[in-house]
């Protein structure tokens, strides 16, 4: 049929480029079909075909039988020279300005309903600089953890119980230390010397430390005191701390794991990590343990039983602390901390039992120092909560970036966001990762940054958790004000998120000059817990009613946290960009928030532990006000929800999740659409095939091959493949087609549906195959009847092809899926029980 571009007023004559994915190997078949249907010039490449059609004929594309998925291409860059990670991702983000959104959205609208008009460009087009907000999802390898663990065990060798305590203690210690350091205003510069590699461990440690810190802010304090007492006295107190810390640290670890996992991996794994972390052997635990143990555990736990172990711990702790300090200061990122910790731990474990008391005595002192360092790093770590280890990494990246000239542009976001309900990494895919990295959860900083970000670029980076050091509160507050200005309550959540993101970016970008000090101080005190919360739960929190401007982060000004110190504030302030994540994220958020706040609260309110709880509660409530805590905040209904999926083939300086996240952030900045990984309206595809980069909008929500079949067996062929195979047979009208081993009769059904002038029959030997065949055929019949189509020219027989009951010369075409059948029959022969398995099995 001639396409004839209609010259309708809607402009359907506009040509759009369609790309469809095809089963590899059948591209020619698909091209044949496309040519027949559309008479267009069809280009093929591996696994896909590409051609132009007028928009009015889009629905026909969906009826094609040889393709699985199709999309409308909006932009292609045939030779995208990939440079380094940051630059490449930034360029990808800038690409958003070149994309033909108009056509893409129009095509999409043809096939999908959306109650509101979608602008193909925003009112205010962000400048390329605004768009650049590179998000890198990193996954830190954690080789060190293992080593640490080993060391730990070596050193300790004490009762496991003790080790647990120790660990807890360590975690607590670390946290407290961190807090202390934070409070002291140590400023970790981004990007200093820390070696990213080292960080992973540190990060983990830091994370754990952080976690515990938050949880046990109060505990920390007590811990500190206890550690001191530890030196001399034995301690139940310590024990107590440990326990409480333990709980927290565990929780935090889990949280962190979740987060980190999200960041680091694309989802799934985080859960494991969490569990891991919570388990004793988690890396962070290890590191934390070491440190903490050295500080407390020994004394507390063993009441003198294991002096050696204790000593070791102490030594370790001390060493770590010391190491941590410099590192912390240098980076202030988790990485540093973790690094230090790691080193520390390693040393510690190596030390073995040292002189006990002497060391233990020392510990407290060092601990303090360490703590201060830790607090610094904790901040950083917090941001990175997501991954116990991963966090460190992202920070590293950020740091480096910051130091480079591109600071303002690079925004490493912590993935915290679990736009989807849960913080668990599964959400990480594309969207989650896209946004922030866990590290960013730096509460005070995060919130501040967010605000500024919002104000400035309206980026929707959600998770800019406070991770790294806090930027000057002042900066934040300024930003916030801006954001507030920019984000009116009416502004879409995306702007809030964007603001948040921007603020974080700003935070990251602006070197810690004053911020560090201020942040530390402020952070600890006031840090707008919201930041972490927001990030964790919802990367994009809509900043409610203009709180945005302050609350977030003014570390200096605790007022914003009216509802609940810090926690509440952030909630309201954060714009919810994406659907709020579920409670899990909330938890993380809270925790991170707690951590952040914990610190501040520490300075202000010693009793952190209870704070945490309350904070969490508050956060929740706050969030609720914002409409989210576990439920997502109301996204702007006039804006379509979207997600970005990145498919990447080839070697590139970044990974798919980072690319998806970065591009997603650019989209948010540009359009301010809310993000939803699961229930999205628009799916933006970023396809990177070696040197070629293309952006398209998906036109099929589910693959087209899920059709026609109701009952499946172990060897069922995809209908798309069946169709393509049949095409290869060059079937003519009136042919008799036979599939002697049809199984669930995927092939006969496709044949009968598409070649209605032929008679098809299929047969199989196996009982169950016949059953399934019957089910499929009757399902198709029903479908046909519903569509007023005639019954299929299709018959089935149960036969044994060894004794083939057919007359000679009555079949024109034999077609079958031999490989699978062979496999199947092989399976049956080797194990008849297989047949008994229901479900997928026959």
């Amino acid at each position: 049929m001639a396409s004839a571009g209609d010259t309708s007023s809607e402009g359907f004559e506009t040509l759009c480029t369609i790309e469809a994915s095809v089963v590899t190997g059948f591209e020619e078949c698909a091209r044949g079909e496309a040519k027949e249907k559309f008479e267009a010039d069809v280009k093929t490449s591996r696994g896909k075909i590409n051609w132009k059609i007028p928009m009015s004929r889009l629905p026909e594309v969906l009826k094609m039988k040889s393709i699985d998925n199709c999309r409308v291409v909006m932009h292609t860059v045939p030779h995208f020279k990939f440079t380094d990670q940051n630059d490449s991702l930034a360029r990808i983000q800038k690409m958003i300005l070149d994309i033909d959104w108009e056509t893409g959205l129009r095509a999409w609208k043809q096939l999908f309903d959306f109650p509101y008009p979608i602008a193909s460009r925003p009112d205010i087009i962000p400048s390329p600089e605004d768009l650049v907000d590179v998000v890198v999802m990193t996954r830190l390898p954690q080789p060190k953890d293992k080593q640490e663990k080993k060391k730990k065990n070596q050193g300790k060798g004490k009762g496991k119980k003790k080790s647990k305590d120790r660990r807890q203690g360590q975690n607590q210690e670390m946290e407290s230390e961190k807090q202390v350091s934070q409070q002291e205003g140590l400023n970790t510069d981004a990007g200093d010397t820390v070696n990213p590699e080292d960080w992973p461990d540190n990060t983990a440690q830091a994370e754990s430390v952080e976690k515990t810190t938050d949880a046990a802010e109060g505990a920390e304090k007590s811990m500190e005191s206890e550690s001191q007492s530890y030196s001399g006295a034995g301690d139940f107190v310590d024990m107590k701390l440990e326990r409480s810390d333990r709980d927290f640290s565990k929780v935090e670890c889990e949280e962190a794991d979740l987060k980190s996992e999200k960041d680091s991996k694309d989802g799934e794994s985080s859960k494991n990590e969490c569990s891991e972390s919570s388990s004793d052997d988690v890396r962070c635990d290890d590191s934390a343990e070491k440190i903490i143990k050295s500080d407390y555990a020994e004394s507390a736990g063993s009441a003198g039983v294991d002096l050696m172990s204790e000593k070791t711990v102490i030594d370790n702790a001390v060493d770590d602390t010391e190491k941590m300090k410099p590192a912390v200061q240098a980076l202030g990122s988790e990485d540093e901390v973790s690094e230090n910790k790691e080193a520390y731990l390693e040393d510690g474990s190596g030390d073995g039992a040292k002189n006990e008391l002497g060391q233990s005595m020392k510990v407290p002192d060092r601990e303090d120092a360490f703590k201060s360092e830790l607090s610094q790093s904790t901040e950083v770590l917090e941001g990175e909560e997501c991954k116990p280890q991963a966090i460190a990494a992202p920070k590293v990246v950020v740091v480096k970036k910051v130091t480079s000239a591109e600071i303002p542009e690079i925004d490493i976001k912590v993935l915290n966001q679990p736009p989807t309900e849960n913080v668990f990494p599964t959400a990480l895919e594309s969207k989650d990762l896209r946004h922030l990295e866990p590290m960013e959860v730096d509460s005070p900083n995060a919130s501040f940054n967010l605000r500024s970000t919002l104000a400035s670029s309206e980026k929707g980076e959600e998770e800019t958790r406070s991770d790294t050091k806090d930027n000057a509160n002042e900066t934040k507050s300024d930003i916030i004000v801006d954001s507030a200005g920019n984000n009116s309550p009416t502004s879409s959540p995306t702007s809030a998120a964007a603001a948040f993101a921007s603020s974080i970016i700003n935070r990251l970008c602006s070197p810690p000059t004053s911020p560090t000090k201020e942040n530390l101080a402020d952070t600890t005190c006031t840090t707008p817990p919201s930041t972490p919360i927001a990030s964790i739960e919802n990367p994009f929190y809509a900043i409610s009613n203009g709180h945005a401007s302050n609350g977030f982060g003014s570390s200096v000004d605790p007022e914003p946290y009216n509802k609940d110190v810090a926690i509440t504030v952030p909630d309201s302030q954060l714009l919810v960009l994406s659907e709020p994540t579920v409670s899990s994220s909330n938890i993380l958020t809270e925790i991170s928030a707690l951590e952040l706040e914990g610190r501040p609260s520490q300075t202000e309110t010693p009793a952190c532990e209870p704070c945490e709880e309350s904070k969490e509660a508050q956060v929740t409530s706050d969030k609720d006000t914002n409409a989210q805590k576990s439920s997502k905040p109301e996204p702007d209904p006039t804006k379509p929800k979207f997600r970005v999926t990145c498919n990447r083939v080839g070697e590139h300086p970044f990974d798919s999740s980072s690319a998806a996240a970065s591009f997603g952030s650019a989209v948010i900045t540009y359009f301010k659409w809310p993000v939803d990984l699961k229930k999205f309206d628009i799916e933006v595809l970023l396809n990177i095939d070696n040197e070629e980069v293309s952006v398209s909008i998906a036109l099929t929500k589910t693959s087209l091959h899920n059709r026609n079949m109701v009952a499946f067996g172990p060897t069922t062929l995809r209908p798309t493949i069946c169709y393509n195979m049949l095409r290869l047979c060059r079937i003519r009208n009136g042919d008799f087609i036979c599939d002697p081993m049809c199984g669930t009769s995927a092939i006969p059904i496709e044949s009968a549906l598409n070649w209605t002038n032929c008679f098809t029959f299929g047969g199989d030997f196996h009982e169950k195959a016949i059953e399934r065949t019957a089910v499929n055929i009757s399902a198709i019949d029903i479908q046909q009847k519903e569509n007023n189509k005639s019954h299929l020219k299709l018959d089935a027989v149960q036969w044994n092809i060894n004794n083939f009951p057919l007359r000679d010369s009555c079949v024109d075409v034999f077609i079958s899926d031999l490989v699978r059948n062979i496999l199947f029959y092989y399976l049956i022969s080797i194990s008849p029980e297989i047949i008994a398995i229901d479900g997928l099995g026959l």
């Binding site: 009136g734 019954h791 009555c810």
Partner: protein, 122 residues
């Protein structure tokens, strides 16, 4: 088209007699070209007998002569017999051995028992 020449001792095994117990007539698009082409493949007497077995043999002459393409009515009856009438339950009977092949759910079961298999030929 189904034969039972797989059974030991059966030489031709065609056509199989049909003993229907349940029949359905489905609606199939009438495609004269298809019917004509099919006629060339099938053994008409067998069709005739089969159609009569199921009780839809009316309209079908004993022999097909001449140019069937023009005879629309005939074509339609053929179409009916060929495509629309379906035996849901019943059995197919081998003309030579009397072996009955059950039909269930429209699907005849042509599987043989061990002792029925003709191992000599192939």
């Amino acid at each position: 088209m189904l034969t039972s020449n797989i059974i030991k001792g059966v030489t031709k095994g065609f056509p199989l007699a049909i003993n229907p117990t349940k029949i359905e007539v489905k609606e199939v698009d009438f495609n004269p070209a298809f019917v004509v082409k099919t006629l060339t493949k099938i053994d008409y007497p067998a069709l005739y007998q089969a159609a009569n077995d199921v009780g839809h043999g009316e309209g079908l002459p004993e022999n097909i002569e001449g140019d069937v393409k023009e005879n629309e009515e005939l074509l339609k009856s053929l179409h009916n017999a060929l495509l629309q009438v379906e035996v849901i339950e019943g059995e197919l009977v081998c003309p030579e051995s009397g072996r009955k092949f059950p039909i269930s759910n429209g699907i005849p079961n042509m599987l043989l028992l061990e002792n029925e298999i003709d191992n000599t030929g192939q």
